[in-house]
């Protein structure tokens, strides 16, 4: 039943121009960034040859590419998730799901997987770019894998946040802004860590960026993976609770 809802949600995304536009624009921008990074590498390659322990192709091309992809996802995810529950509630189509013999968990997880499917598709399309380098160069596949994993975990957390905001908000725009606000503030929370005297370990731990960068550097630690899984789980549970609350309304 979860898969029925998920596949319907995934297909619905492609019925409107939204998914196609997002895919096209994302791909264009990231391809441009990819090529710029590649050019940079070509220029500084001779200099790197003289340096000991110099960063390789993967460090100069792949890491910035995935870093930028993360920022673009930060902007795009709220737009994709905003209508998931919110619009169903506004169009009164939610009662179709609520009166069907399926539980709230099915509804939320199904919707979640549907949206996540699109973002996973995007992540794999992004990964294809650095993979094309294999035709003429050597990549640190371990690091590429770490980057992909970081991006996937990031995306699961983003979608869960968006889903929850969509459950709570009364209007899709509000859901989008809410999601963006939460994600951006968690993203920049780490900036205080730059100020040496006032470092807050708590803020550092909460910040999404810190965990994302740790994974990106190729260091897959259970703390970072656990952070993302907890993050995702929390928001999914909150979404289920919120849907349940809808029945008890007022």
């Amino acid at each position: 039943m979860i898969l029925t809802i998920a596949s319907r949600e995934f297909k619905t995304l492609f019925l409107s121009p939204l998914a196609w536009t997002v895919l096209a624009i994302l791909q264009c921008i990231l391809a441009y960034i990819f090529l710029t990074q590649l050019e940079t590498f070509n220029i500084i390659q001779p200099k790197l040859a003289t340096v000991d322990n110099a960063p390789g192709l993967t460090d100069i091309v792949v890491t910035p590419l995935f870093g930028n992809a993360a920022i673009i996802f930060l902007l795009v995810t709220p737009l994709l998730t905003m209508r998931v529950i919110c619009e169903e509630r506004r169009n009164k189509t939610l009662s179709l799901l609520l009166s069907a013999p399926i539980s709230n968990v099915d509804i939320i997880v199904g919707k979640y997987l549907g949206i996540l499917g699109l973002l996973l598709l995007m992540s794999f399309l992004i990964t294809l770019m650095p993979l094309s380098l294999l035709t003429g160069g050597v990549l640190d596949t371990g690091k590429l894998f770490a980057n992909l994993l970081a991006l996937l975990l990031l995306v699961t957390a983003f979608v869960a946040t968006g889903l929850y905001m969509s459950c709570v908000a009364g209007h899709p725009t509000v859901a989008a802004i809410g999601t963006f606000g939460i994600l951006l503030s968690l993203w920049i929370l780490d900036w205080t860590a730059g100020i040496k005297d006032q470092r807050s370990e708590l803020f550092e731990y909460i910040s999404i960026l810190r965990h994302f960068q740790n994974l990106q550097s190729g260091l897959i630690s259970s703390v970072d993976v656990g952070y993302f899984l907890l993050f995702t789980g929390t928001f999914i549970v909150l979404s289920i609770r919120s849907l349940e609350n809808g029945r008890l309304q007022k």
């Binding site: 169009n91 013999p101 539980s103």
Partner: protein
């Protein structure tokens, strides 16, 4: 016969406002229950609670023997629901939408095509099955909503104002469909069109300010409407015992000293005899008015008198 729906002491509060107040009723197979009430009476709230879209504040609901709160999925399996706004995904075609609904309601894979064809045929949707729901007229959208509710052949069908927005021919078709469905399902129907209840329902319930104020079978109601009354004013005080002896007269109420209301059966209308009797007795007839009671009267009388 086992009851398909048993509702006991249902309450629903919105804050301090009580939308549904101690509603209890049952629905058996083969019954079409008409739910009548003015706007804001609590019809839609009751239906939403029955379909699990709203949680009741108190009370017990059993659908096909399963408690809606304890075993929601089993209970909802025997439920088809059309809300007041049909829940349609406008971006899908009729066929895609019905297919999705069939999957949601757990129709077995190999019988989905048959179920969809049957629902389309019953609701007259065959010629529009490939079109996008957004491009259909309101009447057709309403029919897609009904198709969605009967698709999985549920034991209980709950329709919230199913004939809104349909043209007269479609209304007739839908009423015929409802009667047909009522033969081997239990149907609950909400409406504020009284003739609809008279035409397609076997039972009627009137809800007002959250309370059930009338629960009666339509034939019983028709019977009570079959008794007509005549209001008679005379100059002299009439002797009611003579009038009561006239065949067909059931009872007589005194309104004022020289004004009485005579209740009689419609079958043998005693109007002529009453006039003759009054004139012969010399009570000087001044006024004789037949008082008609239609379902409208009952409805208005019941809903305006909130003490009931």
């Amino acid at each position: 016969m086992a009851n398909l729906i048993t509702v006991e002491h249902l309450y629903r509060y919105y804050g301090k406002h009580c939308a549904v107040n101690d509603v209890s009723f049952t629905l058996a197979k083969g019954e079409v229950l008409g739910f009548l009430g003015p706007n804001g009476a609590g019809k839609t709230t009751t239906m939403q609670i029955l379909c699990g879209n709203l949680a009741p504040s108190a009370g017990e609901i059993k659908i096909n023997g399963f408690d809606l709160l304890d075993q929601p999925n089993k209970a909802k399996r025997s439920l088809g629901y059309l809300p007041d706004t049909p829940p349609l995904y406008k971006g899908l075609s009729v066929q895609e939408f019905l297919h999705y609904c069939a999957q949601l309601h757990g129709v077995a894979k190999n019988s989905i095509a048959y179920a969809i064809d049957k629902a389309k045929e019953r609701c007259g949707l065959a010629e529009v099955s490939g079109r996008l729901i957004a491009n259909l007229s309101k009447g057709f959208q309403q029919r897609v909503g009904i198709a969605q509710a009967i698709l999985h052949n549920p034991e209980v069908i709950i329709l919230d104002e199913p004939t809104v927005g349909l043209d007269p021919i479609q209304i007739r078709e839908i009423r015929a469909l409802i009667r047909e469905l009522g033969q081997d399902h239990g149907v609950i129907l909400s409406t504020h069109i009284l003739s609809e209840v008279q035409e397609s329902c076997s039972h009627v319930q009137i809800i007002h300010q959250g309370k059930l104020i009338l629960s009666e079978s339509v034939s019983g109601l028709n019977q009570s409407m079959n008794t007509g009354s005549i209001q008679v004013t005379t100059r002299m005080i009439p002797d009611t015992s003579i009038l009561l002896a006239i065949p067909g007269v059931i009872s007589i109420d005194n309104i004022r000293q020289n004004q009485i209301r005579i209740h009689h059966s419609m079958a043998d209308n005693p109007g002529k005899q009453i006039v003759e009797t009054i004139i012969a007795a010399g009570w000087e007839l001044q006024e004789l008015t037949p008082v008609k009671r239609s379902m409208e009267d009952i409805f208005i009388a019941l809903t305006q008198n909130s003490d009931l």
